[in-house]
Symmetry: C2
Subunit: 209 residues, 2 copies
């Protein structure tokens, strides 16, 4: 084997740099993280870092992008699940919450919100890789429900926005502003169950004659 990994040949420490940056950025935010911190965490020299990334912003963007992409993969397959609508919704909602209320998920959110003015592209990257992605899947699910006659929804876009919002009721904001830790599974289950109840109660076609 004369071609181990070919493409990624240039730069043995690339992944190391990225991992160190991830660690420090997620811990300290963009402004809070100094390049020297990152270098130290990555176990790499400053010159090496700057040979991969032209500046701190680009490095940060790369970390943020990877983080978003990596995390939203987890929620894909679930939406395709066949079965009882209520069960699917519950499953999707639970998974959604477990991610974006997690420590990493919330930290990404904090940074994106806090730095979106300094990085106009950052908001878009985050949104497309995360919320918009899930929303798209959710819309498909709802549209299928409407076509099947199980749901009656005037504005599917709005409904697809309402559902995730309901799922984080009372949890997202307090965590975002540091008032409490991430919720237990039980807490998530409680909020999700009520969200699904309310959502279906409003949009599900009544079966009783």
């Amino acid at each position: 084997m004369n071609a181990p990994q070919d493409v990624v040949k240039q730069g043995r420490k690339y992944a190391q740099v990225l991992e160190g940056a991830r660690e420090v950025f997620l811990r300290d935010g963009f402004e809070g993280a100094s390049v020297d911190d990152i270098v130290r965490a990555a176990g790499v020299s400053k010159a090496t870092l700057y040979s991969y990334f032209p500046d701190k912003r680009l490095l940060f963007m790369e970390v943020a992008k990877c983080e978003c992409a990596a995390q939203s993969k987890g929620a894909i397959a679930l939406v395709e699940t066949k079965g009882d609508l209520r069960e699917v919704l519950t499953l999707v909602a639970t998974r959604m919450c477990q991610f974006f209320l997690s420590d990493v998920g919330m930290q990404v959110y904090r940074i994106v919100v806090g730095e979106s003015q300094r990085f106009p592209e950052l908001g878009r990257e985050f949104h497309d890789a995360g919320p918009a992605y899930v929303r798209e899947k959710l819309r498909n699910l709802l549209r299928r429900g409407v076509e099947d006659g199980r749901l009656k929804i005037d504005d599917i876009d709005l409904a697809a926005d309402q559902f995730p919002e309901l799922c984080k009721a009372g949890l997202h904001m307090p965590i975002a502003i540091g008032l409490r830790d991430k919720p237990s599974d039980d807490e998530i289950d409680r909020v999700v169950a009520s969200a699904v109840d309310m959502f279906l109660n409003h949009y599900e076609v009544r079966k009783d004659p």
Copy 2:
């Protein structure tokens, strides 16, 4: 009258400093705002600023606190309104949205979220003066509805969290991360109407026999 304003005697420029700080902090965030910028905006010397506030953090805290307190006053009286529950909820929701989706409201939110790690007390101040305050009023409204027999709610706390969340469906996040501007009144009306619909549909006791 030999006592014009007595208490606030010490320091003629206090309000000036605070106003300048408000302007710059809300425009540039905490890290983005330099003390020299603030001094310039306030039309005051640096020494004067530091004679009032021991450091930048304290000045920022004061601005944030004032901003929260000032804004949440607007939503109080509405909840006390008598009349059709649907109308009251619609009114309250509209007012809520108009504030925290406004430019100032969102900017405060961005800063609080972005800086809550650096300022542990900041999140608490913001929450108590803003969201928690409104939530408390909302809970009272709902409790009254339950006692009147108009509503059937198992978990009032949860319901009081769900309602505001529903009202900002699809609006809050995109604005927070800089993807779009504040919504028009029509947009707010649309989302609020649907939120009230869904909420009452779930929690209102059915009248038809």
